[in-house]
């Protein structure tokens, strides 16, 4: 009798607890849905007013009510791809050094370093890029390149310092730790038996990485790249401070030394002043576009990670 009572008592507690968890989880789902709905509702004036021309237009002129987002979208994609392109070899180098060659004692400090680099606030990358790197890169990298190979349009002058290429460089430094730590994790998963088999057959460590480690982790490395890309696409502060906020790239001036505007820097610098419904709507549609791009890379990332996890279990 006593036992039964307490068990039904427990059942009630269990139910309450379960509903508590479910309501917290529902809140998360609700917030996500609300976020999406808010963006769609907010961009309606732009979707209706600008139509498809929004995605293909190259002019952004709020005074005359012309909103074309193509340069911002291209800048966001190109800076992120360049950044990840710079970051992959570096991150893989770190991962290979870490898993194959680093002395055991060096491993802990190395992970601390990687994590710290990942933890530095982006606004600090911005102030560092703006005040320290930009003048150096203008004088010692961009100016010589403009003078020597400036006749090629994408390296054309003037050397601004603050530019698309500087933004890519800063982004690359920001995504290196993200790609590196995932790559380390994946390379460490290479089955020891396979690796030891290679080594006992007389292979060098390098050969074991190239023949077993990297192919084994191939999909994972792609996933790491997607993760880095996701981070780079959504980065705001560092970009806004070093990209130059100009709408000329790539149509008026294709040079990578020219200033540009990314989706995030456009929103950050104009959101306060969007006076008309269609202006505000255009900025929110930019945000929606960005969300769709980042979610797509996020989905791709998770798809690949799940696949590699399943392969690893097999």
């Amino acid at each position: 009798m006593q036992g039964k009572k307490s068990s039904s008592h427990y059942n009630r507690q269990d139910a309450v607890f379960k509903y508590l968890l479910i309501s917290a989880s529902l809140l998360v789902v609700g917030l996500f849905a609300a976020l999406f709905l808010m963006l769609i509702r907010g961009s309606l004036p732009s979707i209706l007013g600008n139509g498809l021309g929004f995605l293909t237009g190259t002019t952004w002129d709020p005074i005359n009510g012309i909103y074309g987002a193509l340069p911002a979208i291209l800048t966001t994609i190109v800076t992120s791809l360049l950044a990840v392109g710079i970051a992959i070899p570096v991150a893989l180098g770190i991962a290979i050094f870490f898993t194959e060659y680093a002395p055991v004692k060096a491993k802990f400090p190395l992970t601390v370093f990687i994590d710290l680099l990942a933890a530095i606030p982006s606004v600090i990358f911005g102030i560092w890029g703006l005040w320290i790197i930009a003048p150096l890169i203008k004088t010692y990298v961009q100016q010589p390149l403009v003078t020597s190979i400036g006749f090629i349009p994408i390296f054309g002058g003037p050397a601004y310092g603050i530019s698309l290429s500087l933004a890519s460089l800063i982004l690359a430094i920001m995504v290196i730790p993200i790609i590196a730590s995932l790559a380390i994790e994946l390379l460490s998963r290479t089955p020891i038996t396979l690796k030891e088999g290679m080594i006992s057959l007389g292979a060098t460590k390098w050969e074991s990485v190239m023949r077993v480690g990297l192919p084994f982790a191939r999909m994972g490395v792609i996933a790491a790249v997607m993760l880095g890309l996701g981070r780079a696409l959504g980065e705001t502060m560092a970009i806004t401070m070093v990209i130059g906020n100009s709408y000329m790239w790539p149509f008026a001036n294709p040079s990578i030394f020219a200033p540009a505007t990314s989706i995030t820097s456009k929103i950050a610098s104009e959101f306060y002043e969007a006076t008309s419904a269609i202006y505000a709507g255009s900025l929110i549609e930019l945000a929606l576009t960005l969300l769709i791009i980042t979610l797509a890379t996020n989905v791709a990332f998770r798809y690949i990670i799940n696949k590699t996890n399943k392969e690893a279990k097999r």
Binding site: I63, N64, I162, G244, N245, S269, E273
Partner: protein, 352 residues
Amino acid sequence: MVSKIAIGAILVVVVVAIGCYILLASQPQQPVQITAGGASFPYPVITKWASEYNKLYSHIEISYQSVGSGGGQNNLFAKTFDFAGSDAPLTNAQLANYTVVHIPETIGGVVVTYNLPGMNATIKMTANVIAQIFQGNITKWNDAAIASLNPSLTMPDADIVVVRRSDSSGTTFVFTSYLANASSLWALGSGTSVNWPVGLGGSGNSGVASLVQQTPYSIGYVEYFYAKNNNLPSASVRNQNGEFVEASLASIAEAARQGTPLLTSDVRAAIVNMPGSGVYPISAFTYLLVFKDLSYMTQAEATAIVNFIWWAIHDGQSYTEALYYPGLPSEIVSLGEGMLRQITYNGVAILG
């Protein structure tokens, strides 16, 4: 063990934060907080005023954010700012929708500033040369048009890096109004933001000043204070009388003196390119914008705003010259007084 320390640390942070908050919230006199913002052009003056006013009336806290004139207007219309600063007056269309009064609170000049390593002399410029540089027609520092104005100087063979505003700006409005008025070559029109064909975009006067400071061979336009305060040079500009005049308290004040009759007939009048000797041609009055009917806020807030602006155009004027803004002419002060008297709360004039 360590995890306990970590929990402890978080708890301490949370408790201290909440504790301090409660302490602050239980201050004897409830503070009146005014959130305002807009033009970066008068930002140094307004933050100085706010700080001095807070010393006089410690419960009144006025926070002014430099988000650009366009941002100021937009937030005023949305009522997220209690008043706004703008160098660009409202258009007739805007005034039809929003009943707002303009109170001219100070005067400033827009200077053409540059970063030429090794150059100590002041460069001379005309409206046409400035127009061509900012339109991308003149791209080299040693271009004949610049060199012929400055025969005694050796201009470097370097690309000009144009720096202009990325946000919607009253400084841009003043600068482009001047170019549209004074140069037949200027094709971009005038407004708080124009469709720039070249250049780096800086956010706020400070953003442009920062970019000019750290970019060799750059040129930009900022409010006089921002150049002065950062030891950036400013070009002397040819005025209507054919004199090359540098921005200074005297030359900007002279422009304001010449422009005062225009304002007394329409407070929104521009005073760029004024005739007269010793006039700095890129000068402007800048405005505080307030809704005529402040019933949407608390009475304490409404009164604080009106009293603060009254104080600013009277006692506050003694602080402006130290910041390189000339004091207001007395006609403009009485104009501002008239504007302030129009402001009402629940149908009653606040200044009674």
